[in-house]
């Protein structure tokens, strides 16, 4: 609220003009009011967090500040001066730099080419490239932003790609740096490094705006925090004077349980037994290098790891649709029966009939058909069930009835089964997928990134349903890159790195630090040998949990 925002600006130690001041910014996309009468004041030389659920309008607001969208109404002041930011060039000239959530890099360009793109000094490239090389060296020294300038982007890790984005902004002499969900793709260690960089930038007098939905990050690094809800700025407070619980409540508009309330697991017989699973993809890359684990009835096994370490392949293989051309070996037992790995009975439909439900990692590609209505999406994967048939035709009435019921159960909003999947928010899309899989009462539920891009209210809800499924004596395999999610939901945690399981831990006997090291491929015995070496000794922690190393 405006009054709350004034509170920060009014303090005597921040008498100088704010680096950024927004007054009454509004922006609508068609009927959707993304930003409504937003006021914001960001004092110079501070790290300012902007927190809010998905679709709260954080990214839209920052895109307006960066000249990517034009506001319908409102005023922007940069260092006390009113400015019309009609395009990104104006924003860049005003000293504003932005690191988008999805990097805006040209994959097959070198780092250097990406840095100078749009900021060249003349019609010829050679002098610009030479200059950028020098500047880059200096920036690397000043801020620990080391990147090889001649590497192409596709060869770089995501962490390094993000550094390139930050370097791009600094090369354009940005004084105000906006970062949109910067840690979503990083390991804990990379995120820590990023925060050190940001603190270094702050020490140099730069202003940083950090958009995130992670309360922990806000508490850890920001000076002030503004909370957005449904397109409005609901509060601006000093970070030191607030708490995660208060922020969560402001974001959602009601009390939120940050801790998942769950009873100890009561594991029964093994439901899924995986032994020595290997997968080589069609390009000859070993994605899975001998994965073995069990999941018992009534237990959640969490698989932690930085994305791209084989989790996707594992889920796809268990779900019955490994990438075409992959070579697969090993055994999967479901309720004691060996599952067909390669033959005609290895497809997703057969797996579903065996009682394996699957909430895929990328709901928009694998989980839903975005242009189909919600009720049609509810039938996918189960469309051949007898109750959905009426002779040669589909029994649409039966499907619609189920869809209505599921949407009721899972509180999907708006509760309109005829609406195309595209028109639901991320959280509600995910609820549709989770509802479809959980309502069939599977013996085993595979869940990939259940809360990626999902707002905090829906996260709470989805987590609760997953725990309920476990308590009903079902097995759950949870794959997530969010360590907090893994730690709070899992009964056991396995960490994947480079196609292997680095070790198993119990959530109450480990720390993010320890898991972070495993995620980076470091075990107590040192880093893993590479592909040619002997496989590392696996930690058998199922019955004999390891303490901290």
């Amino acid at each position: 609220m405006a009054a709350a925002a004034q509170q920060i600006g009014g303090r005597p130690d921040e008498a100088a003009p704010a680096a950024i001041e927004l007054r009454g910014i509004s922006k609508a996309f068609g009927p959707v009011q993304a930003n409504r009468n937003i006021d914001l004041k960001v004092p110079k030389g501070t790290i300012h967090g902007i927190i809010g659920e998905n679709g709260a309008g954080k990214s839209t607001l920052m895109s307006i500040l960066y000249g990517f969208y034009k506001p319908d109404r409102g005023q922007i002041l940069v260092n006390g001066q009113a400015l019309t930011i009609s395009d990104s060039q104006t924003a860049i000239r005003a000293g504003i730099g932005m690191v988008f959530q999805h990097f805006k890099l040209v994959q097959n360009f070198t780092v250097l080419e990406n840095i100078i793109l749009g900021a060249e000094d003349g019609a010829l490239l050679r002098p610009s490239l030479a200059k950028a090389r020098g500047v880059l060296k200096q920036l690397a020294k000043d801020y620990q932003l080391n990147v090889d300038p001649d590497e192409t982007i596709e060869e770089l890790s995501v962490g390094h790609q993000q550094r390139v984005e930050i370097l791009k902004a600094l090369y354009r002499q940005a004084d105000i740096l906006i970062l949109d969900e910067p840690t979503g793709v990083l390991t804990p260690a990379e995120a820590d490094h990023l925060f050190r960089i940001l603190e270094g930038l702050k020490a140099e007098g730069k202003t940083i705006i950090l958009i995130t939905h992670k309360l922990r990050e806000i508490m850890e690094i920001t000076d002030n925090v503004s909370v957005m809800r449904r397109g409005e700025m609901v509060a601006s407070v000093r970070t030191a004077e607030t708490s995660p619980e208060e922020l969560a409540e402001l974001m959602v508009g009601r009390k939120v349980l940050l801790e998942i309330d769950k009873a100890p697991a009561n594991p029964g017989a093994p439901v899924l037994e995986v032994r020595d699973l290997k997968l080589v993809d069609d390009e000859g890359v070993e994605r899975l290098r001998g994965i073995s684990f069990d999941i018992r009835a009534g237990e959640i096994l969490g698989i932690a790891g930085v994305s791209g370490n084989g989790q996707t392949q594992l889920l796809e293989l268990l779900g019955g649709y490994p990438e075409k051309g992959s070579k697969v070996s090993g055994t999967i037992r479901m309720n004691g029966e060996v599952l067909d790995l390669t033959g005609t009975k290895s497809d997703a439909a057969t797996r579903r009939r065996r009682g394996i439900g699957h909430v895929p990692e990328d709901r928009q590609v694998e989980g839903l058909i975005m242009d189909f209505a919600a009720w049609e999406n509810v039938a996918f994967g189960y469309h051949d069930k007898p109750e959905y048939q009426r002779g040669l035709l589909m029994n649409n009435a039966a499907i619609k009835a189920d869809a209505g019921k599921y949407m009721e159960d899972f509180d999907v909003r708006p509760r309109d089964p005829n609406l195309a999947a595209r028109n639901f928010s991320g959280g509600n899309q995910q609820k549709i997928v989770v509802a479809r899989e959980i309502e069939r009462n599977p013996d085993l539920l595979l869940v990939g990134q259940p809360t990626r891009g999902v707002d905090i209210g829906a996260i709470e809800f989805i987590h609760k349903r997953i725990v309920e499924l476990r308590d009903a004596g079902k097995a759950v395999l949870l794959v997530s890159v969010e360590l907090d999610e893994i730690l709070s939901l899992s009964d056991r945690i396995a960490v994947m790195f480079d196609g292997r399981i680095m070790g198993e831990r119990l959530p109450d006997q480990t720390t993010t630090g320890e898991l972070g090291l495993l995620m980076a491929g470091v075990t107590e015995t040192g880093p893993v040998p590479d592909a040619a070496g002997t496989p590392p000794a696996r930690q058998q922690g199922t019955d004999r949990p390891e303490g901290r190393g």
Partner: protein, 321 residues
């Protein structure tokens, strides 16, 4: 086959590859910027007609050339308007342009000249003359080098030399200039250009304008250099062959030179040996004439290894919401 015959075939290949090379480079600019262009054929055809018509009326191939560029450019702008400004489907827009050119040229030709869609034959000054390079005649008798210089390198029209010069020029523009960097970037990831504060629309229009100019050159060369006047459908699929060559060349200018040379050579061989006899077998002329098209199919079927097109190709740029 003796040396003189080889020179003759190569000389013919150079002439025949020229329109392909120009069209291929035209497509290269457009597609590198992320705008697929299957309308090369139509643009070339339109340019061939307008250049032949104007060259006949004015007697000047240069005015004809300008008219050719204007005709092709007009279609380029339609393509740009449809696929960049209004974010339409680039393939459909390209197909429409091909149909438009195919019908318009014949209609206008009949209306203006009444020759069943042809333009009257160009004589003397209406065509581009062959340029004899310095010392061509005096060097002709030097063994080996002489004939190559006098018969293969010398004695083409200005547009042939322009086409060949466009290859290093395109390479230089693409990889050594600011414009080239932005052009390649906009074809790979337009958002990267947009967030850098550079207009995606302007860049893409610049690219299709260059495409229009080069297609204009190609069409003008067909009608006023290679032959003497316009005849119905005279491009004969060259625009599509140029597209195949572009894929074969993996969107690189020097590769485009070799790819189009291969097609030109096949056509030249087919012209020279209508019935090729290899030992007891006689390969019929129909097969020889079909060779460039067969090669096109083989190339497009992916027998040349993986060619990765510009990543943002074919997609109109919409700011994500």
């Amino acid at each position: 086959m003796d040396f003189a015959t080889a020179i003759q075939i190569l000389d013919s290949a150079v002439r025949l590859m020229t329109p392909l090379l120009l069209a291929c480079l035209a497509g290269l600019y457009s597609e590198r910027s992320g705008v697929f262009d299957i309308g090369l054929e139509g643009k070339m055809l339109m340019a061939a007609f307008t250049s032949a018509a104007v060259a006949f009326v004015t007697g000047s191939p240069w005015l004809g050339l300008l008219a050719g560029i204007a005709g092709s450019m007009a279609l380029s702008l339609i393509h740009g308007l449809a696929s960049i400004t209004f974010m339409g489907n680039q393939l459909i827009s390209g197909v429409a342009i091909n149909f438009l050119a195919s019908g318009m040229t014949v209609l206008l030709g009949q209306k203006i000249f009444g020759l069943g869609g042809r333009t009257p034959s160009l004589t003397g000054g209406g065509r581009f003359g062959e340029i004899t390079l310095p010392f061509a005649d005096s060097l002709r008798n030097v063994p080996f080098i002489g004939p190559i210089y006098a018969d293969l390198i010398s004695g083409h029209t200005i547009l042939v030399y322009v086409a060949f010069l466009c290859v290093p020029l395109t390479w230089w523009v693409l990889f050594r200039t600011r414009f080239g960097l932005r052009l390649r970037a906009v074809g790979e990831n337009p958002a990267s250009v947009d967030t850098a504060g550079v207009s995606v629309t302007r860049l893409r229009f610049a690219a299709i304008a260059i495409c229009g100019i080069l297609c204009g050159l190609a069409g003008a060369y067909l009608a006023t250099g290679l032959s003497a006047g316009f005849v119905k459908e005279m491009t004969a699929g060259r625009g599509f062959i140029a597209l195949a060559a572009l894929i074969f060349a993996k969107w690189r200018p020097w590769n485009a030179l070799f790819a189009t040379f291969l097609f030109g050579l096949l056509e030249a061989i087919a012209n020279r040996y209508p019935n090729l006899e290899i030992g007891p077998i006689t390969i019929p002329s129909m097969f020889m004439n079909a060779l460039p098209y067969i090669l096109t199919v083989i190339i497009l079927a992916g027998f040349v290894g993986r060619a990765i097109p510009p990543r943002a190709g074919g997609e109109p740029y919409v700011k994500e919401r």
